[in-house]
């Protein structure tokens, strides 16, 4: 099978500009534009969530977005080879932060997920997803097809995935732990790990799941039961999901009009500015509005996948596929949860939900993705190409 993108487009990297202006020109500006569009929709939704006020959600959030946007562009300028060198130290830092959360974390809503660093709320599990993709990319960077086929070669990356996943599970944050493992799986899948090995892992999960269920926390069990029978407790755990579905459904084709969503404005949904922010868009802009948002998000996933395909080095490809998987899982889990397709699990809608930690982590990942895009043709060490 021939590569999708032939070497015709290839020019040696040294023939291309390496200055900042040249790098800026090489960035995927369509992707940046899509980011801004999603953040703009988020601004409108948060403005509406506050009953038509910039405070307390919309204005701070858009300010944070622009700060994160500058950070993203700055990271895009960093040479991907430098990022590759930093991959393992960053992974180590991520682990340290997770341990710190476990030891001195800030308890919020019954779970220790936050770390206060100089007044900034930090959710290390968000960072860990990116660092994990980097570390796995670095591991498989120079691996040959034979090496990937060797089960012993796969033990270290498997541990690399399981260690942070276990720490995140301990917080407890089941949703993020599952997403973290999925990202690790996606990177390993891209690296060429054989199909049947994934089949074995999935089979193991299926066997363990019923036992694991007994070890879930009360509220987690509650969420799963509620998902199975939403009518079970209409005022308790099922309340959110019922109200969320009503909000979505009452939007209709064209929506109830901006700032006029009855479910939103009547405050039927608590905490609607975070995980359930999509209901505001769906209710006030209808199917038309939500379809637009969905399309933009999908185009972003597609652009990230394109960056992975177009990249000429294995590190960039794997990191890009990890980041695109992260973006996809974020969107999918959040939207599916709001629509009542999967249990409620505390996953925000990227760039839309109110909250600084997730936004910063997502934009950090986009920065690395852009760096891959900008440095798609660089050559790792000469020995590599032999």
């Amino acid at each position: 099978m021939t590569p999708l993108l032939t070497d015709k487009t290839y020019r040696p990297y040294y023939e291309r500009g390496t200055g900042i202006p040249a790098k800026l020109l090489r960035m995927n500006w369509l992707f940046v534009l899509a980011c801004c569009a999603v953040a703009g929709i988020g601004y409108a939704a948060l403005y509406s969530a506050a009953g038509g006020h910039g405070q307390p959600y919309a204005t701070p959030q858009i300010e944070r977005f622009f700060a994160a946007l500058i950070m993203m562009i700055a990271i895009a300028m960093v040479d991907i080879r430098l990022i590759a060198k930093m991959a393992w130290p960053l992974y180590g830092l991520g682990l340290l932060l997770l341990v710190a959360v476990w030891k001195f974390g800030h308890v919020g809503l019954g779970a220790k997920r936050w770390l206060d660093v100089g007044g900034v709320h930090l959710q290390p599990s968000e960072l860990m997803k990116l660092f994990l993709a980097l570390a796995l990319g670095a591991w498989f960077q120079r691996a040959s097809h034979e090496q990937v086929g060797n089960p012993l070669f796969l033990v270290p990356p498997a541990l690399t995935i399981l260690l942070p996943a276990a720490l995140i599970l301990k917080e407890p944050n089941l949703g993020t732990a599952v997403i973290t493992m999925s990202i690790g799986g996606a990177v390993m899948f891209g690296a060429g790990v054989r199909w049947w090995k994934f089949a074995i892992v999935l089979a193991l999960v299926a066997v363990i799941a019923p036992f694991a269920y007994h070890h879930l926390h009360g509220y987690q069990k509650e969420r799963i039961l509620t998902f199975l029978h939403p009518g079970r407790d209409p005022l308790g755990a099922g309340y959110n999901i019922i109200q969320s579905k009503i909000a979505l459904g009452s939007g209709g084709m064209w929506g109830q009009g901006y700032l006029h969503g009855s479910q939103n404005q009547l405050n039927f949904l608590p905490e609607k500015q975070t995980d359930f922010v999509f209901t505001i868009i769906a209710e006030e802009f209808g199917f038309a509005g939500s379809a637009v948002l969905l399309s933009i998000l999908l185009s972003m996933v597609a652009m990230a996948t394109y960056t992975a395909l177009r990249c000429r080095h294995q590190f960039g490809r794997l990191v890009a596929i990890g980041i695109s998987t992260n973006l996809f899982l974020y969107c999918f889990v959040n939207l599916a949860m709001v629509m009542g397709l999967i249990p409620v699990g505390g996953v925000p809608l990227p760039l839309v939900s109110y909250g600084g930690s997730a936004l910063t982590a997502v934009m950090l990942g986009f920065g690395v993705l852009m760096s891959v895009h900008v440095h798609r043709d660089v050559e790792f060490e000469a020995a590599d190409s032999q």
């Binding site: 097809h145 009547l266 405050n267 294995q314």
Partner: protein
Amino acid sequence: MKREREIRPIFTRRALLLGAAELGAFGVLGSRLYRMQVLEHGKYATLAKHNSINERLVAPMRGLITDRYGTLLASNKRHWRAMFMMVEAPDPAAVVTRFAGIVGLDPAETARIMRDLKGKPHYIPLLLKDYLDWRDMARIEVHATDLPGVFVDVGASRVYPFGEQMAHVVGYVARPTQAEAAANPLLALPGMRVGRAGIERVRDAALRGTPGIVQTEVNVHGTVVRVLDRDNGVQGRTVQTTLDAGLQSIAAQRLSGQSGAAVMIDTQNGEVLTMSSEPGFDPTLFDTGVPESVWKSWMSNPRHPMSDRATRGLYAPGSTFKPCTALAALEAGVITPQTRFFCPGYLKLGNHTFYCWDHYGHGHINVVTALQQSCDVFFYHAALLVGIDRMAAMGRRLGLIGRLPLGLPAVSEGFLPTSGWARRRRLVWTKGNTVIQGIGQGYTQVTPLGLATMTARIATGRAVEPHVARGIGRDLLHQDQPDRWPELSLDERSLAAVRQGMFEVVNTTKGTAYGARLALPGVFMAGKTGTAQVHDNTQAQEKANLSDATLPWKFRPNAFFIAFAPAHAPRVAVAVAVEHGDEGATAAAPIAHDLVTAALTRDLRAAPPGTVVETPAEASAGRSGPA
């Protein structure tokens, strides 16, 4: 390149596979959305319309205001009111019209509601009618099906058990303005009130509280079937004032029928025990809105019931200013306690003659006797020697003028002229101006609060600062130690001379206020009378020494009295002002006498902050008043 050739196709294939899966997943989301939003829209729209669970915010109860013993000065009364949720009615205007027909509404109120129907956010309940009686409620119940979205709710209104007596100091609340409600959505809640005057205004933030949430189940008609959860929010904090409701009632009763003010301060800690201003007004009227006729009557009343004379009434203090002149002159060293001036009954200055109140003169007289008999000529001389600047500086030092951290809005600072001020105003300042300044006339403008502060400072020699709020919740606002005020560092001999003069005013037969001496055995009061002319009597009247009592009311002099007691171990300081009361000794001093007697014969120890006495025994005792 072998590795790249092997690995890249695998990656490409698998990445495309993942991409396809992701596309598929988004497709599932999209189709699910399409089904919910477009195909099943009708079902969800119905659910949304008849959403059986309804959450709305409720205004919290406003915090209480108590006096120093916990007697309620401001509290809340529950009442029933009709509310209206616009979203639950297909045609809101028709419902309001029907409601007006069934229960009865003022045309002006109907117009206001119709305006609100358009202007207010439709998810905030609208107030249709306050203070429902059982008949109204029965009518609403009977016609419930005709009135979708209308429900009956408990509201709270502000009550002031002491009404007019405390109106100026406690203040009042009113509905927020449209601008305030727009700036702070919480204020848009029906029932929210904003402190507009007095303690209600200064302590508004503490008194306001946190709103609660009511979760109700409503049927398809929008009628509440049952309340699922009610969180009443957090009531605002209790503000304990330093006031003594009993003493305040005495002051109000003794002043009633006149225009005036009485301020009493605890000299040891600066707590204001009484701050009365007459006439008063009914503060409860502001809660619902003052009727236009009442407002007009207040505005046209020549005695201005709305103005707080205690903190904002500016008066020429007359002879009650003399202790300040005396201290300024003694401290400057221009006179000593032994210095004598000769009073022939007048002082000739150029071609103008300044008379003493006693045209027969006081003869040779020193500062103590001059205070005792209120000799004007002595203070003319003293003022000429010390000058206005040092008098003004002493007035500021004694707290007669200047900013006091009282804890009430818009307290007047008072004013004493200085040479710099006269220069800026391009006034030709003559000796004559200085002379009348020495007896508290001319440009002098002070408040009764300033006079009481000055008295407390003379009594203690410390920079006592009066304040009205004692505690918020269970927290004390000021420390209770008596000796925390800094020393004024006035010469003890100067203070002793002035205190002796003030002692003799009340306790010697020749003193101007001998009639107001205390009847308590072994307890003495020290004071100073003041009678300040408000009308420039003609030369002919001066010569005839016409009695001021024969003048029309508004030309009669203002009467003042300041006092502290017990004279040798001061506990309270008081200032009384009676507008056009004619003479300080007869109009103001008896009121001070009654207040001081009451204060010294009761236990002024305050209850810990946060104490609330539900049955105001203290209040009713106070209101019955002394015989």
